[in-house]
Every structure is written in structure tokens, then in C-alpha cells.
């Protein structure tokens, strides 16, 4: 706080794109409005339009990688460098949603424009094509997603060092979102794409939103069911980054087990599985839980919270300290769950084994088609092959 206004002002007195380059973050070149204005003067043209055309001409669309209800994904490349590949996600406008630009498109563009981090998929540019469809130029991530690696139990072998490397990258991505007051609200293995260098990148911000103001309710119909925390399943309308941390914990568990930890088939079943796998929410371990609007009593086979021995027996390969971290991410009471920052500060990262270097992590290929599949989905949607866990219809109108 003390230095904040001062330094920013010095920078701002002469804002130039080069200022941003001193950041240890991804930077993209920024064409200024002034430059476009000068160019536009020579061509007597709207310069917002000119900027858009300039951006559009920087990229060439190649073949189509995938098409969903929400978007079509193309492989593309830079016009001046055909070897520099990108994915172009063309958002379909005016299909189902009659109210102009859809909420998922707005959310995705709004947040990806602001978040520049090595572990968050980079949005290089946005432009519109002639028919007024939005095109998102995203970094090309050809090595599939984390779910593919988890599922391929025959082809892919990995151990704790690899899990630690992936979890570290996921943890940093989520920490960065929360540091920027953004909730992702759809963390799951197939939203974790893998770059050519093995770097894990959090993608699909179609359900993201800023932290709410006090007393301002949010929708609880977010996060794909298997990764949805108990407070959302019980209808909590006021929540925090803790919802994302639960999802991260579920990804951690799934990386170790190599199958989803609590794959419920309905919301009620999901809660039952959480009671079974993590513990039964009750006033003793989660003060106030009984007053949540969707609270269901599971007293009959109440287990309370699962103890440490149980977790060690199932997740022992992560080591005792790894189990501590997992348990703190899967605390039933969101107020007791660790924050994204606490995840990164955990001592698990400094004990043996050291995380595997990203270039040595197991790879599966995946290829461009897989990226097309991953990007075309709408938030909360799952692959057809796994339709048993399709999320409920999302209520975007809920505040």
C-alpha cells in the first residue's frame, strides 16, 4: 500500500508498452490507440475497426480442430511466421443466447485479458471476423490435458515427483487467479492443458468471476460435480477462493489414485460420496453447516471427518507431509480449508522428492485435435464419453 500509488504514477506519466516488459510475466505487444489513429488518418477509417483488422491480419486460420455448441476451434499461425502456431477459438454468437454477447464469452475474454501467468493459458489477441463473431487467439498447447495422462494407466507411468511438479504448476495458477480476485470455478483435470514444454496451463474461464462484494450472493451452480465442494452442493451463495482449493485437492487425489476420488452420479450422490470419502459435515466439524439452504443430514452413517490414518492408507504415496497438504485442501469447513497461498507455502514442496523438471514430465501427445476438443467446451460441460457427470444446466442469470 505504501509504495503503491507513487511508483505507478511514475510509470504512468509516460505509459509505453516497454514499461510492462520489466514484469516477470508474459507480455504481449500492445498497439496503442495513438498509433492506430495516425494510420487511420491516412486511410479515413474508423480506427477501432482498423486496430481490429490489424490484429486479424496478424493471424492465419488453418484447419478446424473441433466444434462444439459454444465455439469452433481452429489451428492457426502467425502470418509472418508460419512455424509459430496458435489456437483460434471462434465463439459463436447469436445461437441460443438471444441477449447479445454471451456470459461465458464475456467471462472468458474479460479474465484472460487481465491474467498473464506462465500457468494460465495465454490470450494473445482478440479480434472479430466480418460476421461479428469473436475470435480468441490462444497459445497453442499440443500435449493434451492432465486427464489423458491420469487415465492412461497402461501407457503412462509417474510417481510423486511428477505429481508434485503438476500440482505446483496448478497451485501457482490458482494462487495467481485469487491474488487477482478471480474465482475460476471450473478446475478439473481436463481444463489443465499441457504445453509443448510440459508446462501445465489452466484454461476455460467461462465460469470465472471476480470475488463478490460482502452480502452479494453468487450462484452455487458452478464447478463440474466431481470437483464441486460440499458448501456449493449444499447451496451456499456466499463463498470464496476455498471452492477452487477444494477442486485442486480433488485433482491432487485423482493424480494419486489415477481415477476420480469421489465420482458422484447426482448431486445427492456426490454429497454421499464426500461423506464416505472425506467425512460427514456436521456442526462439530463445520459450525453453521446445518443452516445452509441445501443442508442434508447424513446422520445414519455419520463418520465425522475421516482421520489421518484413513488418508494415509489411501494417499500414502504422497508421503506423510503430502497427505497433510491434501487433508488441508479437503477440509469440509471452507473456513478451515487452506488458501491458495497456504498451499504454495506448504512444506511438502521443500521435502523430498523434488518436483520433476517440466521437460522431463511424461507426455502423451494429445495433439492438436485434443486441444480442439478441450477448448470447444462450454464451462461445466464434459466430454460426451463421460456424460454421466454432466453438470446441471447453469443458471447464468443468478447473481
Amino acid at each position: 500500500m505504501a509504495v503503491s500509488p507513487m511508483i505507478t504514477y511514475e510509470q504512468q506519466s509516460d505509459p509505453s508498452p516497454s514499461d510492462t516488459k520489466q514484469l516477470p510475466l508474459r507480455t504481449t505487444s500492445v498497439s496503442s490507440l495513438q498509433d492506430a489513429a495516425i494510420a487511420a488518418t491516412q486511410q479515413a477509417q474508423d480506427f477501432a475497426e482498423r486496430l481490429n483488422e490489424e490484429t486479424r491480419s496478424k493471424y492465419v486460420k488453418d484447419k478446424k480442430l473441433g466444434e462444439g455448441t459454444y465455439a469452433i476451434v481452429y489451428l492457426g499461425h502467425l502470418s509472418r511466421d508460419p512455424s509459430s502456431l496458435v489456437a483460434i477459438k471462434k465463439i459463436k454468437i447469436n445461437t441460443e443466447f438471444r441477449d447479445g454477447l454471451s456470459m461465458d464469452a464475456i467471462r472468458e475474454v474479460k479474465y484472460l485479458q487481465e491474467l498473464s501467468h506462465p500457468n494460465i493459458i495465454a490470450l494473445d489477441a482478440v479480434f472479430s471476423s466480418k460476421n461479428q463473431n469473436l475470435n480468441l487467439v490462444l497459445e497453442y498447447l499440443p500435449l493434451g490435458d492432465l486427464e489423458m495422462l491420469i487415465r492412461d494407466t497402461n501407457g503412462i507411468q509417474y510417481g510423486t515427483a511428477e505429481v508434485k511438479a503438476w500440482m505446483g504448476m496448478l497451485g501457482r495458477a490458482v494462487w495467481f487467479c485469487h491474488e487477482n480476485f478471480v474465482l475460476h470455478r471450473d478446475i478439473k483435470p481436463n481444463n489443465l492443458l499441457i504445453g509443448a514444454d510440459g508446462e501445465v496451463k489452466l484454461a476455460d474461464f467461462g465460469l470465472a468471476r471476480s470475488f463478490s462484494d460482502p452480502y452479494r450472493p453468487m450462484t452455487c451452480q458452478v464447478i463440474t460435480r466431481w470437483y464441486r465442494p460440499p458448501e456449493l452442493l449444499m447451496g451456499a451463495r456466499f463463498y470464496s477462493g476455498a471452492v477452487d482449493v477444494w477442486s485442486v485437492g480433488m485433482v491432487f487425489a485423482e493424480l494419486i489414485l489415477r481415477s476420480p476420488f469421489v465420482p458422484g452420479s447426482t448431486d445427492v450422490h456426490q454429497l454421499e460420496m464426500i461423506c464416505e470419502g472425506v467425512g460427514t459435515p456436521a456442526e462439530t466439524n463445520w459450525p453453521g453447516v446445518t443452516s445452509l439452504p441445501g443442508y442434508v443430514s447424513f446422520d445414519k452413517r455419520s463418520l465425522g471427518a475421516r482421520d489421518r490414518n484413513y488418508f494415509v492408507s489411501r494417499f500414502g504415496t504422497a508421503g506423510p507431509i503430502g497427505v497433510d497438504l491434501l487433508m488441508s485442501m479437503l477440509a469440509l469447513d471452507p473456513r478451515k480449508r487452506c488458501t491458495a497461498r497456504q498451499v504454495l507455502e506448504h512444506k511438502w514442496w521443500s521435502v523430498e522428492p523434488q518436483p520433476t523438471d517440466k521437460q522431463d514430465l511424461p507426455k502423451k501427445g494429445g495433439g492438436m485435435e485434443k486441444m480442439g476438443e478441450d477448448l470447444k467446451r462450454r464451462g461445466g460441460e464434459v466430454d460426451d464419453s463421460r456424460s454421466e457427470r454432466v453438470a446441471r444446466k447453469l443458471d447464468f442469470g443468478a447473481r
Binding site: 503503491s4 507513487m6 505507478t8 480506427f47 477501432a48 454468437i93 471476423s129 466480418k130 491474488e179 462484494d213
Partner: protein, 391 residues
Amino acid sequence: MILLNEDDIYRSSTQYKFWSFTLDSLSSLRNTTNTLAANGVREAVLQQKQKSAGVGNIEDVTIDCLTVEEEQKLVGFYCVKAMQLADFCDFPTNVKVRLVPSCPFAYQIADVSRAAQATAVQYLKRFYLSNSPMTYHPKEIMRSAVFLSTKTENHYTSLRSFVAKLPKTTADDILAPEFLLTQGLRFTFDVRHPHRALEGGFMECLAIARGQRGELLKNTMMRIGSSEHWKKGAAKDTDQLVARIQGAHGRAKDTLKTSALLTDVYFHYTPSQIWLSAFLLADQPLTEFFVESAMPANSDMKQRLVNVLRGCAKMLSASLSADPGDAEMKELMEIDKKLYKCRNPEKIDLVSMNKAAKREGGQEGELDEKVIKKRKLEREQKADDVFGPPI
């Protein structure tokens, strides 16, 4: 190791990268926009006249175009209108029935709608940096800006109910300019406001006043003398000190609701600088004390910062009125009359323009039954020419 502080985060924001300017760069940008638009109007009018009068009979036309200042006044007026519209949409007469059950604190609802309102105004101001009212009338863009802001600020109401609140407005009227608007905004929807920061500063001041930051700091705060709005001198007790802070907070909040939105401060200053400047206007000695308490001892930063804040405060004081008087209204009417004669005739019918643009792109999106066929058609077209027909 990546070390981040607030400044790093702010510098990676689109508000800093795309929407921050020096005084000179902002004014030259506005001049260019105005010149471009005026040329566009002349050309379009000339073409129209040539068409109706036969080929080449008319060589030039003189049109009295708006000046940059007139454009600014007009946009400013519609910023006020946008605020009123956002207010009106959020506070229907049945506010108690509709809003209170889900949100028990009426005061908080007001804060929430403020975010959408403030964002709508900034959208308008950003849009008119690269567009002129002569090309797109702010009255039409304003409605779309308010609607878009309800979507980007998690305040979404369906278009149908939004339109129902507006007189003589169709859904097409709102949607037609949306694309132009998003393009003018360079597809950046995030606006960083000073409102939350003010609340944080307010809470921090209260904590100091209540002794939660140590007796020493509290006693120094008690001793702060009178200011323009606080005539009672040093505080006699905690209650009086709290009252002083609350008064300053209330005035600063009003400044953020009005002049901070209507002036250019968002283009020149950071959110922290804006709220501190609003606080400075509300109670200067209190703000200076607060700034000093947050700085390391023996730093020359305080004076430098206060100088920056004074510049921002000066800009805030020179705001257009949020409630224009008769003389101002008369001037605005004159400008609007003048605009009537210098509008770009090609860009008046936005609804038809929008439909034409979509047809041109090979997508109509009119009827449900046609969607499947349309997609197939679209795919075939795309296979030939991924970027649509030549420009």
C-alpha cells in the same frame, strides 16, 4: 521467483496497458478522432448529394461539424444519462419486493449497482476516445453500454426485462451497437474502480481511530486540526474522531460516484490515487496524516504523492455537474441541434447496419429452424475462406 506487488498487478491490467494516457496523448487522440469523424461526415454527405444530383455536379460541401469540446460535453451529458439509466434499472418501484429477500442490506445493493453504473460510464468514455458522436450518437451507444455493463459486472438482467424498462426501445436497438461498442473497447471489459479501495482506507482509518494500530498513532490522529469540512478542531474523544472519518468517507464516496466518473481521472490516475484524492478533497489534513502513517519514516515519498493527489483532486473539482442546470441544458440542446446537421448519414441506422454486417458474414441467426442448415452453410463457406469474403 516471481515477486508481485499491487503495482505489478496493476501494470498488467488492460486499464493500464490500453486505457492510461498522458494529458497530451489523450488530447491529441481526441483531436484525431474528431478530425477523422468530420472528414467521414463530409465525404458521406458529398456522396449522397452526388447520388441525388447526378454524377459530379457537386464538388464540395461545407458542414459545421462539432468541435472536440462540444463532443466532450455531449458525451459527458450522456454519461450522466447512463448513470441515471443504471440507477433506474436497479431501483424499480418494487425494489423492496424484488431485491430485499436475496440481499438483506439495502446499503450494499446500492454499492453493487454502483459498480455496473461506474463501468457503463467508463465504457462510454473509452468508446468515445476512438469514436465521435457525429458517427455514433451517444444516446444509442449509452443504452448498450449500460446493458453490457450489467453482463460484465455480474448484474445481468435479461434483455427482455431491460428493454421493458425503456421507452420506445426494442431489443435490436440495444444489441445492434453492442458489437461496435466491444470493438471500440478493444475487447477489454475489466474496469478497475476506486470504490473498494476507499472502503478499505475507511476501515483502516477507523482501526487507527479506535486504537487498534497503537495508542501513539491514535493520539496523533486525535490532534489533527480543522479542515474545510471539519470545523471542530482536534477531536475530544473517539466518537468525535469516528464521526469526522465517517463524514470524510461519505463526501469521498459522493465524489467517486460523480466527478470521478465524469472527469478524465480514470485515464490519468490509478484507482488508489483516485480514492486518496477524493479523500483529500473531503478532509485534507486527515488524508495527509493517513498517507504519512502508511509511508516509511523519513521518506520523500509523502510529499511526492501528495503532489500527485493534488493534481488529481484538481481534476476532480473541475467536473461537469451530475445535475446540469438550465444554462448548461440550453448549451447541450444547442450542441444536439448542431449534431443533427452533422451526423454521418451512413451510420445512423445501426439496426440495419448490424443486420447487413451479419448477412455479409454469412450468418443470419434469425430463426431456430435454420440454425442447423446455417451452420452447415457456414462451415462450407469457412472451408473456402476462413476469414469471410474479401474486405
